[in-house]
Amino acid sequence: MTELIASTANLPAAGEIEPLTPEERAEIEHEISHYPNRQAATIEALKIVQKYQRWVSDGKVKAIAEVLDISPDAVDAVATFYNRIYRQPVGQKVLAICDSVSCWLLGCTELMDHASRSLDIEPGETSSDGRFTLLPTPCLGACDRAPVMKFEDKLITNLTAETLDWILKS
């Protein structure tokens, strides 16, 4: 049965925008000034928001889109492309263990299992106490010192189970 002229649109409401903080906005505007068009600052804008929020929410994606004058879809396409832009909340510290070929040859699979067991989570999850998020990552460019792990902004080389234990307990 076809009912003619459906009443007004009853499409799902879109999520709310989460406004940028003054600091975020100022830093993003500063980045934009370096480029010929606003869109070029997308990656920097995402990094700035993540620096303050530790992750980038749907609402912040919209706010970034607004300041860059592009669609939220265009921002999200960039945000989801990079695995180090977090689109979900992460723990206080992020462990990113390299799983590319050199690290794999030198045992990163066992290290990942070890971290996984110790934290009682799967890769991609955050520990129940909210302290650690465990992620795999592609090559970090330090194959001569494999296996390696990025721990927040520090590179841990020649990673061992002992080093992992020490980090997780500290």
């Binding site: 459906a6 499409l11 669609s71």
Partner: protein, 935 residues
């Protein structure tokens, strides 16, 4: 041209193409996914591998992706060699690893390019036993379903939606094996071209939600060649029917018009034909409160004939035609009542605008371009049209036209034009000039090199100033600001420098000066560009309805027989006249109070219509009419091309006859009772029309523009090897049992005496003329991509000929220097600035709910924005209005209340009124532009 050798056979091919394009154009079978004839090559799917050999001695060769390899003269290649076959087989095996095994429940099944290519690549056994990737699907609105699990990551969707159609809300999310094609959150796809995703996607990720409500496979749908009637462009479509309901519409390729794509209004706007509210039976109102419902069709026609004969003897018979219906239906009505008593049903301004357009199109120095030609333009000037809303498919063509600069740059850098990514990267944001003068901004403004909002007369004045800059024989524009003088000079310069400039205007502003200024620019441009030999300028007008130009042609030279004249005649003879109204709700055509007076003063009112409306409420005798899917006819589009559409299916309602046939039946009933004496011969001839071709012959007799009317499409006697052309695919299932619940014996297939098409599966499967091709299918090619097999080259003409007949050819080269001052249009005065709280109200066309019939489709109605009045913030401040408040605008006889929205693109001093069908019911757009009070 270049010669290539494919598997030992030599072929002549176009040297500017890639190997895949060339091979497909030769009719060879070579699988592909990511390549698309209009989107070019990106080489992402790795499916079109072939082996090419370095020279005649080379026996090893190497595998290349044919879509990324240019044709070179003397090239040798092999599609059939075992290694490239094995490569394609393995490539598709990897592609299929994550593709679900859901073909039986997938709506793409049976017309799936992925299915076809899998079989073509001979990948018949699945070895992968692991888990497949699964995704969460999104809600994408009432028109499109989303099933990401089926995605093979060919990137066609985003390349069409964003790169080609300028969409902003579809993205490639995530990366590598997690890649996801969707929106940043659930929500309706915003682009008015989103429906093309259904056809662009090679598998079932994006499917037609309006089809899935009551689903049938492609092979179970009956189709006929049809023409979209929801705007004036005349896109070719292929509607699919099953059990008396239109189930969906797909694009039907026309080289010169729609090409591969149509708009969402055309694709999803068909539901009015399935509506429960359709008028199904005749009714006769004996007195004010007694209505005889559902009298026999014959009785109703006889009753009408009595009325007609009575009124005609007193000279009190009038008829009102419709610019939405076919030339034939209007012609039959015009013949029935005689030319003098036939009125267009348009208000005087629109009626005269269309006569003016027809006259301009027939001038020397003017050429009405096809959409394909508009796409090739390297400078576009738009005067007063919001194309995205008034002629959506043309907006898509204009968008492509702005890319011609990038093709120019690519040619200079020797980059093949099909190298899509390289060409786009090279051009970045650089585009060919697009100059838009509009009343309230348009969606194309974002890619325009010049955008300017102004009142219609001011747009026209700028146009006239451009004409003056191009030729000092054109009249000068008095009192133009220096700013506008220099803008005009800039536009003129841009048009002069372009190789193929195009000027676009239309009737949306409902303002003669706008239409005339566009013609002035075109004429001046022809003069400026002529050096001895005149070169016609491209000038395209967007018109109000599907057959506006056809109706104007039927009344050519008659500036008078419009709706207002009909009303005057009725009001001058109160209680005397009988009116016959053909599918035209007069309440959307004139001031409602005046229409009331018109009906109040009629003796009798006979209405033929398909949907109930305020006009059908006033009918004494009401006869149902068929929709364009149920009858045949010819529409004349905005470039003057007569295109025939055919009955998609035969209705079994005995009261529903072809519209022209019902009118011919009236003539028959009028003539029959021996009252034939003294009746005009044309009426007697109409009464003798037994089938459509008889009527065509009558129309052809009119000569002039109609002199070759029979050439618009082959007639009913046309056969291929003695056979008709089948409407049903040869795999149409259940024919013998479809009606088993009513009667076990198989019903006789309906006969079609009006066309060379049959309501059957049997008939000629090949060599079908373009105008008679119901849809596309070829062995091994079940999807729409089978179109490749029907074209003389990829993206070329249909082998069966481009459908339709161009009626308006530019007159042979005339010496334009003979143009006299009387050939120039005169310049209007500037629009006075708003005073005393009065503003100029203008009408804005609407994509989803701006056309009377398509707006009835629920899928489109849901997508329409709420109607709002739009106003520039400064104008609002000047008259003391606040955003969001309900504002009331008042004309002499109507008032309208709508929420107010601020839009800085609306020209100052204006208030923009949406032309959606609901608002139009209160304030008909034909009353605008007009000075209004607002509070």
């Amino acid at each position: 041209m270049a010669t290539i050798e494919v598997d030992g056979t030599s072929y002549e091919v176009d040297g500017d193409r890639n190997l895949l394009d060339a091979c497909l154009g030769l009719g060879l079978d070579l699988p592909y996914f990511c390549w698309h004839p209009t989107l070019g090559s990106v080489g992402s799917c790795r499916q079109c591998a072939v082996r090419v050999y370095a020279n005649a001695e080379d026996t090893r060769g190497r595998l290349v992706m044919s879509c990324m390899t240019p044709v070179t003269d003397g090239q040798r290649l092999s599609i059939r060699d075992p290694e490239s076959q094995a490569f394609r087989d393995k490539s598709i095996e990897v592609t299929m690893a994550n593709h679900p095994h859901d073909c039986p429940v997938c709506e793409e099944g049976g017309e799936c390019h992925l299915q076809d290519m899998t079989i073509m690549s001979r990948h018949t056994e699945r070895r992968y036993r692991g888990l497949k990737k699964t995704y969460t699907n999104q809600y994408l609105g009432p028109c499109i379903s989303h099933e990401m699990n089926r995605c093979i990551a060919c990137y066609r969707c985003v390349r069409f939606y964003n790169d080609y159609a300028g969409g902003k809300d579809l993205a490639v999310l995530a990366s590598k094996e997690n890649v996801y094609f969707g929106r940043h959150e659930d929500g309706c796809l915003e682009s008015g071209f989103s429906g093309n995703l259904v056809e662009v996607c090679p598998t079932g990720v994006f499917t037609d939600k309006t089809l899935s409500r009551s689903y049938n496979r492609k092979w179970d749908l009956q189709s006929a060649p049809s023409i979209c009637s929801s705007c004036s462009l005349g896109c070719n479509i292929s509607p699919g029917e099953r059990q008396g309901r239109i189930k969906r519409i797909v694009n039907r390729y026309h080289h010169d018009i729609n090409g591969y794509f149509i708009c969402d209004r055309g694709r999803f706007g068909y539901d009015y034909t399935n509506a429960d509210q359709r008028i199904q039976h005749c009714s006769i109102r004996q007195s004010a409160d007694v209505t005889e419902e559902a009298p026999d069709y014959r009785d109703a026609i006889n009753a009408i004939a009595v009325e007609l004969a009575g009124a005609a003897t007193g000279g009190n018979l009038i008829a009102i035609g419709s610019d939405r219906l076919s030339v034939e239906a209007n012609f039959a009505l015009q013949t029935l009542v005689d030319e003098d008593n036939f009125y267009s049903g348009m208000d005087p301004v629109q009626h005269q605008l269309l006569q003016s357009v027809l006259g301009i199109y027939r001038r020397p120095g003017i050429h009405a371009p096809t959409l394909r030609e508009i796409e090739s333009a390297d400078a576009v000037l738009i005067l007063g049209e919001d194309l995205v809303n008034s002629a959506p498919r043309m907006a898509l063509s204009v968008r492509q036209a702005t890319r011609n600069l990038s093709f120019e740059l690519a040619r200079k850098s020797q980059i093949p034009l099909w190298q899509d990514t390289s060409v786009r990267n090279l051009a970045q944001d650089r585009r060919s000039p697009l100059m838009i003068l509009s009343v309230a901004g348009t969606d194309l403004d974002a890619i325009a090199s010049l955008r300017l909002s102004a009142a219609a007369d001011d747009i026209a004045r700028l146009g006239f100033a451009v004409a003056r800059c191009l030729s000092d024989r054109a009249p000068a524009v008095p009192n133009l600001s220096p700013d506008l003088e220099s803008t005009a000079a800039g536009i003129a310069d841009c048009l002069l420098r372009a190789k193929n400039p195009v000027i676009i205007s239309g009737t949306s502003c409902n303002t003669p000066s706008v239409v005339e200024s566009a013609a002035q620019v075109a004429m001046a441009l022809s003069l400026a560009k002529s050096n001895g030999q005149i070169r016609p300028s491209w000038l395209s007008y967007v018109l109000p309805a599907a057959n506006s130009l056809g109706l104007a042609m039927l009344q050519e030279g008659n500036d008078d027989n419009h709706l207002e004249r009909a009303m005057q005649r009725v009001l001058a003879n109160p209680g005397q006249c009988t009116a016959l109204i053909l599918q035209n709700d007069l309440y959307a055509r004139a001031e409602p109070s005046r229409v009331d007076a018109f009906f109040g003063n009629l003796k009798s009112c006979i209405v033929l219509d398909q949907q109930p409306n305020r006009t059908t409420d006033r009918a004494n005798i009401l006869v149902p009419t068929q929709t364009d899917f149920e009858t045949e006819g010819t529409l004349v589009n905005n470039e003057g091309r007569a295109q025939r559409y055919f009955e998609v299916f035969a209705t079994d309602n005995p009261s529903l006859r072809d519209n022209w046939k019902t009118i011919a039946n009236m003539a028959k009933a009028w003539v029959n009772p021996g009252t034939g004496q003294g009746l005009p011969e044309s009426l007697l001839a109409l009464a003798r029309c037994e089938n459509f071709d008889d009527l065509i012959a009558l129309l052809k007799n009119r000569g002039g523009l109609f002199g070759h009317w029979d050439r618009a499409a082959p007639n009913a006697a046309f056969r291929i090897a003695g056979l008709k052309i089948p409407r049903m695919p040869h795999r149409y299932s259940g024919r013998t049992s479809l009606r088993a619940n009513i009667r076990v014996a198989e019903a006789k297939q309906p006969e079609d005496r009006d066309s060379p098409l049959g309501f059957t599966m049997e008939g000629a499967p090949i060599n079908i003329p373009g105008a008679l091709t119901p849809g596309f299918w070829s062995p091994g090619w079940n999807s729409g991509e089978s179109l490749n097999k029907f074209q003389d080259e990829i993206n070329g003409h249909l082998k069966g000929g481009d459908p339709g007949l161009r009626l308006l050819q530019s007159p042979a080269a005339t010496d334009m220097s003979a143009a006299t001052s009387s050939d120039w249009f005169s310049v209007p005065a500037a629009t006075p600035t708003a005073a005393n709280g009065r503003l100029l109200a203008v009408s804005l066309p609407r994509l989803f709910d701006g056309e009377v019939l398509s707006a009835l489709s629920p899928a489109l109605a849901q997508r329409a924005e709420l109607p709002q009045l739009e106003i520039h913030p400064e104008t609002a401040a000047a008259v003391g209005l606040v955003e969001g408040h309900i504002a009331t605008i008042r004309l002499e006889s109507c008032q309208l209340k709508l929420p107010l929205r601020f839009n800085p693109r609306v020209a100052s001093g204006l208030v923009a009124v949406p032309a959606d069908v609901k608002t139009a019911g209160i304030l008909p757009p034909v009353l605008l532009p007009a000075a209004v009070t607002i509070e």
